[in-house]
């Protein structure tokens, strides 16, 4: 199945409901579709790290020893050779395991930051990195609010490394490797709209088991990966101060001002110069 068909199938249900409510918009854009999404349930996660191993196998990275529980002694970040990590947090309400990887933001800062379009928010939702375009400036790393893109500092031909949402697997109609590997259904794959609904149901049906927040529903304008948790998110390593504004909007007003300045400045400058020249003759050129 090619990517278009994959998308078509994937967004079938969403298209049906969207078309019914959005009047003529569907007629103008015949294939509206949703971003893909994964819902992570920190309550269900048992810290088996099968997702870490599956991710490594899928992406040709060194496969970690999942039996080694000593890794939980530190809070780990993804690395260039490990795109996803599971961390253990000891909270007042007991031990909570939670997986970390690229959030695949709806409006991805890294993709906006990239001046070569190497980092790209695809139509399907995954944020991917393209080796042939990247010049290694690392502005994506500066911009990412989750500090996800990693750089190979010890390579003469360095790459940016991060979770790409198993983009190729999705194109073949499969779910991401980590989702498939999860033995306890802590990871669930689907359309973002469905996953938000599923998350809402889960937290409202079990108000005593979950905090009443879906991380990623609104953060930085919404993310492709969504989290529900039995404990407040700041207790399990999430930044809760990011706000709901998409990161790219922070530079939007500056970029809008650019063409205005670019067109008006020369006119103003020339007008001032002409006026000065008529009052007193300045040098016509450099001498």
């Amino acid at each position: 199945m090619d990517r278009r068909n994959f998308l078509k199938n994937l967004s079938m249900a969403g298209t049906a409901t969207a078309a019914a409510t959005s009047l003529n918009i569907a007629a103008e854009s015949p294939k509206p579709h949703e971003f893909v999404s994964v819902l992570v349930d920190a309550k269900r996660c048992i810290g088996c790290r099968e997702c870490e191993a599956a991710c490594a196998t899928q992406n040709g990275l060194p496969v970690p020893d999942t039996k080694d529980k000593s890794v939980f002694e530190d809070i780990r970040e993804p690395t260039p050779t490990q795109w996803t990590v599971v961390n253990r947090f000891e909270t007042e309400n007991g031990t909570v395991f939670v997986k970390k990887q690229c959030m695949h933001c709806n409006q991805a800062a890294c993709s906006t930051a990239c001046l070569t379009e190497a980092m790209k928010k695809t139509e399907e939702g995954p944020v991917i990195w393209r080796e042939g375009k990247c010049m290694g400036c690392r502005y994506c790393m500066v911009s990412c609010p989750f500090t996800i893109p990693k750089f190979e500092y010890h390579s003469a031909n360095p790459k940016i490394q991060k979770c790409i949402f198993c983009y190729e697997r999705l194109a073949e109609g499969e779910v991401p490797a980590c989702v498939q590997s999860c033995p306890v259904d802590a990871l669930q794959f689907g359309q973002r709209r469905e996953m938000v609904q599923e998350a809402r149901n889960r937290v409202s049906d079990n108000p005593h088991s979950y905090v009443q927040h879906i991380y990623g529903e609104d953060e930085v304008g919404g993310t492709g990966w969504l989290y529900v948790s039995p404990v407040p998110f700041d207790e399990i390593g999430f930044r809760t101060d990011l706000g709901g504004e998409p990161i790219p909007e922070l530079t939007q007003s500056f970029l809008y001002a650019v063409p205005v300045v670019f067109l008006l400045w020369p006119v103003f400058l020339n007008a001032i110069r002409a006026k000065e020249e008529s009052s007193a003759l300045p040098p016509r050129d450099q001498s």
């Binding site: 970040e77 690395t79 800062a109 906006t112 930051a113 990239c114 001046l115 070569t116 379009e117 190497a118 042939g132 375009k133 990247c134 010049m135 290694g136 400036c137 690392r138 502005y139 790393m141 500066v142 911009s143 609010p145 500090t147 990693k150 750089f151 190979e152 500092y153 010890h154 390579s155 003469a156 031909n157 360095p158 930044r239 101060d241 990011l242 990161i247 790219p248 922070l250 530079t251 500056f254 970029l255 650019v258 300045v261 670019f262 400045w265 020369p266 400058l269 020339n270 001032i272 110069r273 000065e276 020249e277 009052s279 007193a280 300045p282 040098p283 016509r284 050129d285 450099q286 001498s287």
Partner: protein, 409 residues
Amino acid sequence: MTTSVQSGTPREWDIREFVKFVIKEAKPRGKFLTPFNMISIPIILVGAILVVIRFVFGIGSITNLSQSTPWGIWIGFDVVTGVAFAGGAYVVTFLVYILGAKQYHSIVRVTVLNGFLAYMFYAGALMLDLGRPWKIINPIIGNSFGVSSVLFLVAWHFLLYMAAEFIEFSPAIAEWLGWPRLRKIVGGLTIASVIFGITLSTLHQSGLGALFLMAKSKIHPLWFTEFIPVLFFISSIFAGLSMVIFEGSISHKVFRSRVSHEGHADHDAILLGLAKICAGVMFVYFFLKVLVLVHSQQTHLLATAWGVWFMVEVLGFVLVPGYLFFRAVRAGDVGLVKVASALALVGIILNRLNISVIAYEWYAANPYIPSWMEIEVTAAVICVEIWAFRWVVTRMPVLSDPPSWAPER
């Protein structure tokens, strides 16, 4: 025969004469065993070795950059601070060619040369920091235009501005080569490239600040504001002029014999005039800094250690040098102007490094401290730039008078 290879003499095109001339001019001149050479040559050699290591073993082999601190002093100092320091060129050309302030005409060439070399070397040092510099043509030739990126804008503006500055400086090259016709052509392009250059500078000086807008969650709230682009632009005015004052004072001493009679006579008046502008702009900048702080309702943070550091920057290295400029102008004290310009330059270094490096990921457990090798390479780049500057100044009519055949001022 001897006169035909003299620099500055008008001559007809002759390829053999031209090659002979270039070879003659390319040779080093003057004493070799100067203190500056003795210091700079080892620095440049060590820097060259480090650059080789960097390209063979990766950026991490000589820098302390990390996954959480992707930009260090090669960006924060070489590029972000260096470009602010190079702002003098657009300000001085604005004064002379737009406002018609002829009294600054004698410093235009040296300022434009400095600006051009600064962009070439400090922005050129960016190539060392790029992980995959061989892909730098991607955003330029058009197979991948990331037009939503502020960095795309900055990269293009660097490139175009270097071209504009080169055109602005090229009359000096034409005079050196002794080509009156080329001199006439490039002289006619000066006004256009000045206007273009000022426009580009406005946008990329502010654009360098706008780069950090997306790092809102990582920069300490005392430094993060949506007004970073405006603050960067305004501070680039006095940063550039302070550099003109500071650097001009040094090169006037070092290249005393090259300086034209007019240049000598005007120099103190020029410095005081620039100091006056610096004083005015620095008070505006200080006022804006205070306004932003009050508006952001972050004044309570002044009582923290970061607040003290913030006040060191804003009081010690903006308000104080601004006041010293003001005092110096009132008293006609050129010595004090030079002191004020040095303090103002320190203030710009602090501000740019605070935003790009020091207050970036201020909460990090292991803050980034540059390795000696990063500092060494930066020093090497500066030394090479000074060599290039010296080479040009001792050959072309930059500080000295143009040849007699060149158009009148």
